[in-house]
């Protein structure tokens, strides 16, 4: 998964030396929008009543707003909310939305599944479907509600009662929110069941013509297939649910006093060889993003092999990312970015291999044993890119080396003894997350303050290497002239997994936050616009919100091909994007119009909420936990937008009432 931002709530809120905090930006925004609102209100009132009267009118509206919000009645809000819910149900939009949802789930299973990661396809399908339906639904009910009431004059049945404008606006928002939340919750539970049902499957072991299970000896030259290092033979399962698994017989060699393998049901046989016990057990290899447990009962030809339900689909990994990633070039000079291997996509930085000083250092802070469920072996996960500059040895994958080291921060006192581990080498595997178990006790050396070697031995990862909570993990490419690519999120320690249902719920909270913004936007716009225009405005805001990144790319001044007018001109005159236009008055005019348009679009992208920050589908899809800071940031963004939009709606309706 591509992770580019690693939010820290406090840093996001109050900023640091490199960026301004969101809190300060919000304060400035409130000030700016208040001034703009007052000025705009004064301008409109001036046209209607003249400047002197306008000042009085604006002051009255602002002064009236304070009691309107202080003396708000929750009873009345919920009464209006109840009416809004009844009205929405009467419109049958919810029924239609739910029907579409049910139909998609009923027949969606026909078209999805299979592939490398069926779990991702399933999650994507339900998340995207729910998001689309729920946003469409709330957009429709919020956009049509108030304008219809005003048009049909049914608003007077409410406004003639002792109800405040703030209560009318809030009541509708709350009503639609309750309705949307209920529907979202139902959709979420059904979706979870749908995903679970769709992915649940088991397998049977393959048998030969005589009905017997045949384990073939592992021979890569004969089969071309790579097997685990300790595999001695293997077979496959039958093809089911669009895939099959390799089943290996692996030899697990343990000391006489050591406990047997945890998965005792998979043991085929055991024998004593000298002072060791060799367990031969079955191991189901990963395919389509999951694996199975296998239980063997009986011996020889009478053996029965039972495969468990799929495991590995429903994960909520909690990664411990490094605080910082520093690349070092061939000469050992630190760089902010890794080398480029010519990819357009610059997410991964590369280091080159062999006898150079090139490496990547991951600097971990707050590295503590408390975060891990078991500290005997710490799971380190890596997803590295590989670039070969020459063919090399086809049969062997590119090798990487890991080294762990203690380190101190910039203004901290240097540690009296610095620990450095031996290099742990392994073959990289592209496109999958490799899990490497780092033992807590690892062999290494101790160095003094001057870099002198003090002693070698086996040391504790937490107590020796990271007594100050800081740990440095160095990644090297071990093969000459080959390259390894990585980003900050490519290497992390996997902390204790979180419950999957909790992550799923967090994913839906993301949709809920989007829904709330759409409701507030719909209600707010509908206080002064007609239904179709409100709907159009909301759709535009959603599109801008979801595609803000792409739209922002179009607003950079040096975008090739120019703005809309220039692009159209190039289109009809068949001029390519790079061809310079000969200077003329019309070309200058065209460019000025484009500049204006681009700056307007740029401004809009900054005003509308960035929905991608509230969208956690990727986290669910790739099995990563939506962390608290990320959720809190998303919640604060949504809350700020909802508050602002509600106030805007209130003032607009209040002004409209005054006008009426």
């Amino acid at each position: 998964m591509v992770v580019k931002d690693f939010p820290d709530l406090m840093r996001w809120l109050f900023g640091d030396s490199t960026r301004t905090g969101a809190f300060l930006i919000l304060l400035l925004l409130i000030l700016a929008s208040s001034l703009f609102g007052l000025f705009f209100g004064f301008l409109v009132a001036s046209f209607r009543h003249g400047p002197a009267e306008a000042f009085y009118t604006v002051a009255k509206v602002v002064a009236g707003a304070i009691p309107d919000w202080i003396h708000i009645s929750y009873r009345r809000i919920f009464a209006i909310a109840g009416l809004a819910i009844k009205e929405a149900i009467r419109r049958r939009v919810i029924l239609v939305a739910f029907l579409i949802f049910a139909l998609s789930l009923l027949f969606g299973g026909w078209f999805i599944g299979g592939g490398e990661h069926p779990d991702r396809v399933y999650i994507n399908f339900v998340m995207w479907g729910t998001q689309l339906l729920i946003l469409m639904l709330v957009m429709l009910i919020s956009a049509f509600s108030l304008p219809d009431d005003i048009r049909n004059k049914t608003i007077y049945t409410v406004s003639t009662k002792p109800v405040r404008i703030s209560e009318i606006v809030l009541g509708r928002i709350v009503g639609f929110a309750i309705l949307g939340t209920g529907l979202l919750a139902v959709m979420g539970i059904i979706s979870l069941l749908f995903v679970w049902r769709g992915l649940s499957h088991t397998h049977q072991i393959a048998v030969n013509d005589g009905g017997q299970v045949e384990f073939q000896p592992v021979d890569r030259l004969a089969t071309g297939h790579r097997a685990s290092d300790n595999a001695i033979s293997g077979t496959t399962t039958l093809f089911d649910s669009g895939h099959r698994h390799y089943v290996e017989v692996v030899e697990d060699v343990r000391g006489i006093d050591d406990p047997p393998p945890a998965d005792t049901e998979s043991i085929l046989s055991q024998e004593t060889r000298g002072d060791k016990i060799v367990y031969q057990r079955l191991q189901v290899m990963h395919a389509s993003g999951h694996s199975h447990n296998v239980a063997v009962t009986g011996k020889g030809e009478a053996a029965v092999y039972d495969f468990s339900d799929a495991k590995g689909f429903f994960r909520a990994r909690k990664p411990k990312y490094a605080e910082m990633l520093v690349f070092f070039d061939r000469q050992g000079e630190p760089k902010r970015e890794g080398m480029s291997t010519g990819d357009e996509w610059t997410y991964l930085g590369f280091i080159d291999g062999g006898i150079t000083l090139s490496r990547a250092e991951y600097l971990f802070n707050n590295f503590s044993a408390d975060d891990f469920s078991s500290t005997d072996v710490l799971p380190l996960e890596l997803k590295l890119g590989v670039y070969r500059s020459h063919k090399g040895d086809i049969n062997t994958r590119i090798r990487a080396g890991l080294q762990i080291e203690s380190f101190t921060g910039e203004n901290e006192t240097a540690l009296p003894r610095r620990f450095r581990s031996e290099v742990m080498e392994f073959e990289t595997e592209e496109d999958i997350i490799q899990v490497k178990g780092i033992p807590r006790k690892i062999p290494g050396q101790i160095y003094g303050p001057e870099g002198e070697l003090i002693e070698s031995g086996i040391y504790d990862l937490f107590d020796d290497f990271a007594p100050n909570g800081r740990l440095k993990l160095t990644v090297r490419c071990m093969d000459q002239s080959q390259y390894l690519g990585m980003a900050r999120a490519s290497v992390y320690f996997r902390l204790t997994d979180r419950p999957y249902w909790l992550n799923f719920a967090r994913g839906y909270i993301g949709i809920w936050m989007q829904m709330m913004i759409v409701i507030c936007l719909g209600v707010s716009l509908s206080t002064f616009l007609s239904s179709p225009v409100t709907m159009l405005g909301t759709v535009c805001a959603i599109i801008f919100g979801f595609f803000s990144e792409s739209i922002k790319k179009l607003t950079v001044p040096e975008v090739s091909g120019g703005g809309p007018v220039e692009s159209f001109y190039r289109l009809v005159t068949q001029k390519n994007q790079e061809e310079a236009l000969s200077r003329s008055l019309s070309v200058d005019a065209m460019e000025q119009i484009d500049k204006l348009f681009i700056s307007m679009v740029g401004a809009v992208t900054r005003i509308v909420p960035d929905f991608s920050r509230l969208d956690f589908s990727d986290f669910l899809t790739y099995g990563y936990f939506v962390d608290n800071d990320r959720l809190a940031v998303a919640f604060l963004i949504s809350f700020a937008f909802c508050t602002g939009l509600t106030l805007m709606g209130y003032f607009c309706l209040k002004t409209r009432e005054l006008a009426g």
Partner: protein
């Protein structure tokens, strides 16, 4: 507006809609056929136009509910949906999100199922561009298969288009068989029973079995066979348009057998199966040579066959004799000056029957013909200037026929050269002979012995009987092979240049390395293929820098000088006991 006027308006709307439906149904009325499948009614105009332009979905493909649902779900915004999906696919590929890329392609082809280029382009993307992104050959193999599986999805949608089938043949053959990792791919393929099962839905996979296991070249062969069958026999009685040039289209199927032979000889010791396969490859290549091929730039011109060279030459010769009867002595007179410049034995070739000439003589005769008749059409000149008025018409007819045959000869030459036809014909034939098989076995054995470091002759003593047996080493095996190849080259001089010889140069280089490793001179004084090396040098194609006869002679001279200077000889250490030959 009152209620009744609103009702009236609605009625008018419905009537208008109904009225418009009548002409619409008339113009799109489908064709009807009788029990003999003959067209009874050609249908409406729209229907006829759809048929004429092959746009009818029912004809293009099976109507797939999934695809139709996707098209409907795009609510008439199919173009936009397609663009969005293409952009998503491009982004996923750029960001190396391969599973997103693959699933996006699956959605894309549901909306564009009859656009062949989409299938071709994206399958190529999967099998070539995505596969190569992976470091591990097993993953590469997996993504090549993904491209193949992707293409097979397109078959039911495009049952009357051979291009998808051709692409399947290309990926199954070339990608698995010519990549750097071909040995690994071919091994994986042999053991991939699941993939064979998948392919069995489309081709008879029993036919891809060999004694070494299933072979992907045979799978490619079956795909091309299917494509050829579609073009030649149509599908469901409907014509299948051929989108490829005759010359290229018809060579694909026989080439796969040849490619299999080339792959197998590097992997296994030559045996009866390989010999039979080479024979089959030769026969199919010959059949390709006998097939009439049309010129793609002007299909109205007469078709030529690559094997028709002798026939055309003989026809030209006969026609010229006929023309000479109408204008006795004219040709001799006109050619007298030009002919005088050539040796007599050259000129005599012109009068000999074509089928009595060997390859070398035929080549000389063609060169002469080209000089004599190439610049100005001498036959036309004879017909216009030397024939009596009464015979003019007959002479013109003969000249017309001569021109047709000369066109065939010229086009045939060009096609044969493009396809390297003669070389592959002789090459496959040679490989299928006992001599060729023996030569291959020697090379295979030599390579195996070299791997075991048994470079030169070695003695093995029987532990019980105590007898000693001398076994040949890699050097002797190489030399045995060269001896066979020398005989073959003598019989087929055309093979002294081309892919076979290039391969032989590699073998000779290996031989030199082995000799040097065994402490001998890298190049023997009496190398049996020296003539071939000299021939290559004479053609100016010797970047391999192998020693020519002149180089060897110079070496002799140097040795002589060293001997005169009484320089000490190189020590000759004998590690082996005197040989007791059985």
């Amino acid at each position: 507006m009152n209620q009744s006027s609103s009702f009236t308006r609605k009625v008018i709307y419905i009537a208008c809609i109904g009225g418009l439906l009548i002409p619409l149904s008339l113009v799109s009325r489908p064709a009807t056929r009788n029990s003999a499948n003959e067209i009874k009614d050609p249908g409406g105009l729209l229907s006829q136009m759809r048929d004429a332009n092959d746009l009818s979905p029912a004809k293009l493909s099976e109507i797939d509910p999934g695809s139709e649902t996707m098209k409907l779900a795009s609510l008439g915004l199919r173009g936009i949906a397609v663009n969005l999906l293409w952009m998503k696919a491009i982004k996923a590929k750029e960001e190396k999100e391969w599973d997103v890329f693959a699933s996006t392609l699956n959605s894309l082809v549901k909306i564009q199922p009859n656009f062949i280029k989409v299938w071709e382009f994206q399958a190529h993307n999967l099998s070539y561009n995505v596969a190569v992104e992976f470091d591990d050959y097993e993953q590469r193999y997996h993504w090549i298969k993904k491209g193949i599986e992707f293409l097979t999805q397109g078959i039911p949608y495009n049952r009357r288009d051979h291009r998808i089938i051709d692409n399947l043949g290309m990926i199954c053959g070339q990608k698995f068989g010519t990549a750097d990792e071909r040995f690994q791919y071919r091994t994986l393929f042999r053991n991939d029973d699941l993939f064979h099962d998948q392919m069995s839905q489309f081709v008879d996979v029993d036919q891809i079995n060999t004694p070494y296991g299933p072979d992907h070249w045979l799978l490619a062969y079956l795909w091309y066979d299917r494509s050829l069958n579609m073009v030649e026999n149509n599908v469901d009685g409907e014509r299948v348009q051929k989108f490829s040039k005759d010359m290229l289209f018809y060579q694909k199927k026989p080439s796969q057998l040849r490619n299999m032979g080339l792959s197998l000889r590097d992997e296994f010791r030559a045996d009866e199966f390989q010999q039979a396969n080479w024979r089959r490859a030769y026969e199919e290549w010959l059949a390709y040579g006998n097939r009439p091929i049309r010129w793609d730039r002007d299909p109205s011109r007469p078709a030529v066959s690559l094997e028709g060279l002798t026939t055309s030459l003989q026809t030209v010769q006969n026609l010229r004799h006929e023309l000479d009867k109408l204008a006795p002595g004219a040709r001799t007179q006109m050619l007298s000056v030009k002919v005088a410049a050539f040796p007599k034995e050259y000129v005599a070739l012109l009068d000999r029957p074509v089928d009595s000439l060997d390859d070398e003589e035929l080549e000389k005769m063609r060169q002469l013909d080209s000089v004599l008749y190439g610049a100005d059409n001498l036959d036309e000149l004879i017909a216009t200037t030397s024939v009596t008025t009464n015979d003019k018409r007959a002479a013109e007819e003969i000249v017309g026929k001569i021109n047709v045959e000369r066109f065939k000869l010229s086009l045939g030459d060009s096609l044969r050269s493009t396809m390297n036809y003669d070389h592959w014909r002789d090459h496959t034939l040679v490989e299928s002979t006992d001599k060729g098989i023996e030569a291959r076995q020697f090379i295979f054995d030599a390579v195996e012995l070299r791997r075991q470091s048994l470079l030169d002759e070695f003695m093995v003593r029987e532990p019980i009987a105590g007898t000693q047996t001398l076994y040949p080493g890699a050097i002797q095996k190489f030399e045995n092979s060269f001896s066979d190849w020398a005989q073959i080259m003598l019989e087929y001089p055309g093979l002294r240049e081309g892919p076979l010889m290039n391969e032989m140069i590699d073998v000779i280089n290996d031989y030199m390395v082995v000799r040097e490793a065994a402490g001998k001179d890298g190049w023997p004084d009496d190398f049996i293929l020296q003539d071939v090396i000299d021939f290559r040098f004479g053609k100016g194609r010797a970047p391999d820098e192998l020693p020519t006869s002149a180089d060897v002679a110079e070496r002799f001279e140097t040795r002589g000088r060293l001997s005169r200077l009484r320089l000490p000889k190189r020590p000759n250490i004998q590690f082996v006991q005197p040989i007791e030959q059985e």
